[in-house]
């Protein structure tokens, strides 16, 4: 049942239909949850007894960190989908996720740095958590660069999928770095044995912001996936037109509407 639903949803034609219908609702839901999250973070959550108002940076730093890792995790699953099943949407999903994940990772690093200076007395230390997040950003940049260097999307998909799987080794390092090594960064305070250590007055605004950022990220991802499908259709039509011009025929026959040239050897 679940497998059948998943197969239906991930069929390129079905994907274009349901994601087109869901897009405006998800965008509205993102705006609503983000508005609620910001209200709770700024006007309901109290200042921290030690950090004072500076703790408000946490409400953007933690969701950004979560999404930086979340998108890399989803890219890893897509990479498996590309290499094992050669699913036509897996590569599209992976390519659309990379810039979004990179943006959230960059936000995490910069907001963490701006939080670190008043709290730790420094913008940056080479401790395990900070360094592994920086490595994640560099891997994202490497993946985006690799895509841009390869003209053929099918060749690029395989190379990027392998690079993504190699980079996935960094994910458990990020998560457990604060337990494995002595770091300036605090240990896990939400996802930990024994439950969260954050006071509910701050935990619920934080969870709302995490939910809002996740919905925003998923909305952007679906939108970018649709754009990527469009880009591949444009590429196929351009090649088809060039071939027709080479053959001496001046006109192009456009692909029928809805026929995404996904998975074709281009």
């Amino acid at each position: 049942m679940t497998a059948s639903l998943w197969t239906r949803l991930s069929n390129p034609g079905h994907f274009l239909r349901w994601s087109g219908a869901a897009g405006p609702w998800l965008a509205g839901l993102s705006a609503l949850t983000l508005g609620l999250g910001l209200y709770l973070s700024w006007f309901v959550a109290p200042p921290d007894y030690q950090q004072g108002e500076t703790v408000r940076i946490m409400f953007i730093h933690v969701p950004a960190a979560w999404l930086g890792v979340f998108f890399y995790g989803s890219m890893t699953l897509s990479a498996i989908g590309t290499l094992v099943w050669r699913h036509p949407l897996a590569d599209v999903a992976q390519r659309a996720a990379a810039p979004i994940g990179a943006a959230f990772t960059l936000v995490c690093l910069v907001t963490g740095s701006l939080w670190g200076k008043p709290m730790w007395g420094t913008y940056w230390v080479w401790d395990a958590r900070l360094t592994s997040m920086l490595v994640l950003l560099l891997i994202y940049c490497g993946i985006i660069a690799l895509w841009r260097t390869m003209e053929d999307p099918n060749r690029a998909a395989r190379a990027v999928a392998i690079l993504t799987l190699v980079g996935a080794v960094n994910l458990p390092i990020i998560k457990f770095s604060v337990n494995w090594w002595s770091t300036l960064h605090q240990p896990a305070s939400i996802l930990r044995m024994g439950g969260p250590t954050i006071d509910p007055s701050m935990l619920y605004p934080l969870l709302t912001m995490i939910l809002a950022a996740t919905i925003l990220g998923v909305t952007l991802h679906l939108y970018a996936m649709r754009t990527e499908i469009l880009r591949r259709r444009v590429r196929t039509l351009t090649i088809r037109e060039a071939e027709r011009l080479d053959a001496g025929a001046p006109t192009l026959v456009p692909a029928p509407a809805g026929a995404a040239p996904l998975g074709q050897a281009l």
Binding site: E53, I57, V107, L220, T227, V253
Partner: protein, 53 residues
């Protein structure tokens, strides 16, 4: 604005800077997504228009 900054304490610049940077990156991400979509739609329309006899 001065009152708001005073309310945020001595580290107001760090707090507002963090939110401003996040807003800038998220805004850039959304605008870039829209710009990219429009560019692809224009390219597709152009190709289909050229294809009509």
């Amino acid at each position: 604005m001065l009152g708001f900054e005073t309310h945020l304490g001595p580290h107001a610049g760090f707090i507002l800077g963090a939110y401003a940077f996040t807003g800038l990156v998220m805004g850039g991400l959304v605008l870039n997504a829209i710009r990219d979509r429009r560019a692809q739609e224009r390219a597709l329309e152009d190709l289909q228009r050229r294809g009509r006899p």
